[in-house]
């Protein structure tokens, strides 16, 4: 192996990345360490240069902060008007994203990347607007200060003592095509500040003055320089990869960040991020849910959820592992994924507790040999905390969740009642036993009670039962009786042992219980998934799939939901199908359209169009968005919990696949149909061209001979020629009639003129009509007496008989007998036409009735091959069937069955 040769997979990824980039607009960030270093100024200068190069540059939004030099630079540039948004009585002016998308310039200038948009805007953050612009192929120039970078937020908060709320994810910064550092020595900045050249909002002036201390500025400048350097470094690495320079090749690192419910979570994630970037490694953020952690209050669990979402935003992979032992789960996961480094918080247990109960860190140190451990200290008390979106969510009225919480509380309450009840029963039992049994046996009864409570109601009630039990034993049975004091040391030992055992039991049982709960959750998920996928596999149509999907999503996520698909023009529309009770009505099509176009989720609980009532998820398969799933989550946790989110993802993938499968099948069917139609048209053309040309040749030839007769034709010649013309014209007339009949039947243009007809009249009419042609044939008709009248279109049924008889005349030797017979069953009348001809070739019994099928192709005797097809079409419009068989005694027998639908109307009897 040539070590110089780049990995083909990497090359491919590189090419794909470049292709995606080529379509995407270029992002240039003017990066500075503080306000007033001249970012906007530098950006405008660059814009003017582009302008001079005749590139279409417009100013989307610029904050001049009243600086004259900056405002001067705006002259000569196109400035887009701002959009005004009404919000609680005040008018806010914002960057007009849609106008820019419509205008589609080459480059747009948008100041202050970290800005938070006014409520009601499409995206909550400006960097998301910028992302959409880039997605649309528009180049963007923007400005950013170092303290607004998500991963540096903590550090800067510690350095400067001030935290900013407006942050930009590092991924966005890293994805920038160019980062231009706008630098200014701190001394000069301070001079500018004193001269009043730096705009400061009045209300925050003091705080910001505090921020503008020289020490702070130096530290911030260093961070900005370092950040830019690492960005340059990564560009350098990209370049190396792109140009097969591989001398220095870092070992790929995998970093696992373990987060728990502690306050440390966000810091761990940010640290992990920086670590991963520094090492150019992959990073995974894991939450290990032990039974202990499952008992956490909802707020804490939401906190974890928020941390995991932050990690995802920063570009990490997140996992939730559930296990009994945290250390065991971590080691297993590390082995599975070849983790090289673990980042986690310092152990919280200290002193003797740590010595006695151990800590995860200690276990990891002793068991994970190849893994480096990095421990992060606890945060300083008093740091400002972010308010999680979910907490905020809960504060608003959120009926679903409250209901669940109160239900759970109710369950707890009954658990405690039961624990007291059971302990009292134990007391009654033991009071009967007292005096006859040893104290140890009495203790056993109470322990039994604890076991019972622990299995049914979990830890809390069982602890209550334990304490109560110990107290009762002490009070009622231990000397001195009816007092809590203890006379003998041995009783003290008994009581302590009883307490310990009871507590251990509570713990164990509670763990077992929650394990069982986890297992049952997991099993239920698998079952739900299996049930849906099974039903989806059986679904034959899109409507059926959508109904199945709606039902299953509702039962799993408790959400009213609907699947929206685009129409032919690509606009998302409401489904045609009548909905189910679980269906969501009145979804917002404009949000759905956005999701469809961007292949990203939006709506309630997301960062995009969060004002919508429902959550909209793209229904995509193989990168192609098929439609949108809209759902109204009963509570956000039920959808955004990582495990649930994964389940929903799987649901969506399955649904998308099912839809794709049905569509492909439909497409295949249409193609098949088109092919058949094509084939039919071809055989029609060849048949018609042959069958019409042959008689035409005779007619044209013979008539020209008659027309150009110079007297040389004898009388007999003339008669012969004209009867040839007559015969051929007749044949053509029949052909044309057949073709027209078939076309009418095919087009469904035949309106049945159904009336009551005696079958013998129909047969009689046919035989009279064919009288001449039937000469020399023995035709026997066998109609049993009492045949009911037939409710049918007589002209068409006659046509069937005529065609069958003509067929018989055409394909059987002259003079051979024909036989028509009728049979009745309670529900149908069957008519048989039998001959003594050569019969039907094997295997052709059904093919005979196909259009343009002829037993012998191109034979002079045959017609166009439509006669029997017409018969079949006529019989079928009457709801009957037609078939052909060979007779055992030689010849063929054709039969058709017409169902007897109803009784003929009553007749007035003649007196």
């Amino acid at each position: 192996m040539n070590p110089e040769r780049p990995d083909p997979d990497e090359l491919l990824a590189k090419i794909e990345q470049e292709q995606a980039k080529a379509k995407r607009g270029r992002l240039k960030i003017f990066f500075g360490f503080a306000a007033g270093v001249g970012k906007t100024y530098a950006m405008l200068l660059a814009a003017r240069e582009r302008r001079a190069e005749n590139i279409d540059v417009i100013v989307g939004l610029i904050e001049t902060h009243g600086r004259k030099e900056t405002a001067e630079l705006l002259t000569g540039l196109d400035v887009l008007p701002r959009k005004s948004i009404e919000y609680r009585g005040t008018t806010l002016s914002e960057f007009d994203l849609d106008a820019t998308l419509k205008r589609k310039p080459s480059i747009v200038l948008v100041d202050e990347m970290a800005h938070t948009n006014a409520p009601g805007s499409r995206h909550p953050k400006r960097w998301q607007d910028i992302d959409e612009l880039l997605e649309a192929g528009i180049g963007v120039y923007t400005t950013l200060n170092v303290q607004h970078l998500e991963s540096l937020n903590d550090d800067i908060g510690q350095i400067a003592g001030i935290r900013v709320w407006e942050t930009v994810p590092d991924t966005v910064f890293e994805a920038a095509d160019e980062v231009e550092l706008v630098d200014l020595p701190p001394d000069e900045l301070l001079v500018r500040l004193k001269e009043g050249k730096v705009y400061l909002p009045q209300q925050a002036e003091d705080a910001i003055r505090h921020f503008f201390r020289k020490g702070n500025l130096i530290a911030l400048r260093e961070l900005a320089l370092r950040q830019t350097a690492s960005q340059v470094d990564s560009q350098m690495l990209d370049y190396r990869e792109g140009h097969a320079i591989r001398e220095i090749w870092p070992v790929s690192e995998r970093i696992l960040v373990c987060v728990g419910p502690s306050e440390l979570g966000e810091r761990l994630v940010r640290a992990g991020k920086r670590f991963a970037v520094g090492l150019r490694g992959e990073w995974i953020v894991a939450y290990i849910e032990t039974p202990e952690l499952q008992r956490l209050p909802a707020e804490k669990r939401d906190g974890i959820l928020r941390v995991l979402r932050l990690a995802e935003q920063l570009g990490a992979e997140t996992v939730t592992l559930s296990a009994n032992q945290m250390s065991e789960a971590i080691i297993d996961f590390c082995n599975d994924r070849n983790i090289t480094k673990i980042v986690m918080g310092k152990p919280s247990r200290r002193g003797w507790k740590r010595w006695l109960l151990g800590s995860v860190v200690d276990t990891l140190i002793s068991e994970a040999h190849n893994i480096n451990l990095y421990l992060l200290g606890s945060p300083q008390p008093g740091t400002v905390r972010h308010e999680s979106e979910l907490t905020r969510y809960r504060r608003g009225s959120e009926p679903g969740l409250k209901e669940i919480l109160s239900k759970r509380k109710k369950g707890y309450f009954w658990g405690y009642v039961w624990s007291i009840g059971v302990t009292i029963i134990c007391l009654l039992l033991t009071s009967l036993m007292f005096g006859h049994f040893e104290l140890a046996n009495l203790v056993m009864v109470f322990l039994l009670g604890v076991v019972f409570i622990a299995t049914r109601y979990g830890r809390g009630p069982s602890i209550v039962a334990s304490v109560l039990g110990v107290a009762m034993v002490d009070y009622f049975f231990v000397d001195p009786q009816y007092s809590f004091s203890v006379s003998h040391t041995q009783y003290l030992v008994t009581l302590i042992a009883m307490m310990t055992v009871a507590m251990l039991i509570s713990n164990l049982m509670a763990n077992v219980k929650s394990q069982a709960k986890v297992a049952s959750h997991r099993e239920r998920r698998a079952t739900v998934l299996y049930a849906m996928s099974k039903e989806l596999t059986m679904s034959q149509s899109e409507d059926e799939i959508m109904r199945t999907a709606v039902r299953h999503i509702h039962s799993e996520f408790g959400s009213q939901n609907v699947i929206l698909l685009p129409d032919q023009t690509g606009r998302v529309v409401h489904p045609q199908d009548r909905g189910l009770p679980q269906s969501l009505y009145g979804s917002d099509l404009s949000v759905a359209q956005w999701v469809m176009d961007h292949n990203e989720m939006a709506g309630h609980g997301t960062n995009t169009l969060a004002g919508a009532d429902a959550l909209y998820l793209p229904l995509s398969s193989h990168e192609k968005v098929l439609g949108v799933l809209a759902l109204v989550p009963v509570n956000l946790r039920r959808v955004f919990l990582p495990e649930q989110q994964k389940l929903l993802d799987t649901f969506i993938r399955q649904i998308a696949q099912a839809i794709t499968r049905v569509r492909l099948a439909e497409q295949a069917r249409i193609t098949q149909l088109q092919m058949e139609t094509e084939q039919l048209r071809n055989s029609l053309l060849s048949s018609i061209s042959h069958d019409l040309r042959t008689p035409l040749a005779t007619i044209v030839g013979s008539s020209s001979a008659l027309a150009e007769n110079d007297g040389s034709l004898t009388q007999e010649d003339q008669i012969e020629l004209s009867s040839a013309i007559y015969g051929e014209a007749q044949r053509m007339s029949n052909l044309v009639n057949n073709i027209l009949d078939m076309a009418r039947l095919d087009a469904g243009a035949v309106e049945l003129n159904k009336q009551w007809h005696p079958l013998e009249e129909i047969i009689g009419t046919v035989l009279t009509g064919l009288q001449k042609r039937l000469e020399g044939r023995e035709v026997t008709v066998n109609i049993p007496p009492g045949i009911p009248m037939l409710y049918a279109d007589s002209v068409l049924i006659e046509q069937v008989l005529i065609n069958l008889l003509e067929n018989a005349l055409r394909y059987t030797p002259e003079g051979s007998p024909l036989q028509i017979s009728v049979e009745i069953t309670p529900f149908a009348v069957e008519v048989f036409v039998a001959d003594r001809g050569p019969g039907i070739p094997k295997g052709m019994e059904t093919k005979l009735f196909e259009k343009f099928y002829r037993v012998r192709q191109e034979a002079a005797q045959s017609g166009v091959g439509l006669g029997l097809a017409i018969c079949r079409a006529i019989v079928e419009v009457h709801g009957g069937t037609i078939q052909a068989q060979n007779r055992a005694s030689g010849g063929a027998i054709f039969s058709f069955m017409i169902p007897v639908e109803k009784q003929p109307p009553p007749m007035e009897q003649e007196g």
Partner: protein, 231 residues
């Protein structure tokens, strides 16, 4: 009249068919006048005092059925209509309006001449028909005055309705009668739509009069249109 050549007015817009009718008819001793639209046709029928009108239903200026109705306002002369195969309904309408017979395109000269002769015979004979005359065709004899029916000289007993049906056919012998016309004459106007009555009685009549009811010689079915008594 016997010495005079019968006069025919042909109302047809298609020149080749007109030419074929003219050639065919004039070589068989008819005097032929032509019209290529309905209006002119009505004028010709009034002016030429024809013995027969041959009328195409698909005319450029007016509906053929209208032409039949207009002619019937002042004359009972036989009208034979020509129709395309698919226009069953207008054929029945024209017959109900009073046309005597129909020919479906394409047709041969022999068929045309046969229909023409039957119609002419009926038309020319009506005034001189003996009111007490006995109708005879093949081995079937019907005496409308004395109300008897004979096959090969043997009397056949008919129910009153069967007899009424037969007498309607005999009075219009050779002419196509639509279901509606027969129903109206036999059962009265209120039964004009009960065509299954007619079919049942017709089949009873065939059982009594025809040698082989499935291959009738006299009581012919005009498929989808009505019945005709062959003469």
């Amino acid at each position: 009249m016997a010495n005079q050549k019968p006069v025919v007015v042909v109302i047809e817009d298609d020149p080749p068919i007109r030419r074929f009718l003219r050639t065919g008819l004039s070589t068989h001793d008819f005097v032929v006048f032509e019209a290529d639209n309905g209006r002119q046709g009505i004028v010709e029928a009034g002016v030429r005092k024809p013995d027969l009108v041959i009328l195409d239903l698909g005319l450029p200026d007016m509906d053929g059925v209208e032409v039949v109705k207009l002619i019937r306002e002042w004359s009972a002369m036989p009208i034979i209509i020509l129709s395309a195969r698919s226009s069953e309904q207008s054929k029945i309408e024209a017959l109900d309006a009073g046309a005597d017979d129909y020919l479906t395109k394409p047709f041969g000269l022999g068929e045309l001449l046969a229909r023409t002769r039957v119609a002419l015979r009926r038309w020319l004979r009506v005034p001189e028909q003996d009111p007490s005359g006995i109708f005879t065709t093949g081995n079937l004899q019907v005496d409308l005055l004395n109300r008897w029916v004979q096959i090969d000289g043997k009397e056949v007993h008919l129910t009153p309705i069967q007899y009424r049906l037969l007498s309607v056919l005999v009075q219009n012998a050779g002419k196509v009668l639509t279901h509606r016309q027969i129903l109206k004459d036999v059962w009265g106007p209120s039964h004009a739509e009960s065509s299954h009555y007619l079919r049942i009685y017709m089949s009873q009549l065939r059982q009594k009069l025809e040698e082989d009811p499935t291959q009738p010689k006299y009581l012919l079915t005009e498929s989808g249109v009505g019945y005709r008594l062959r003469v």
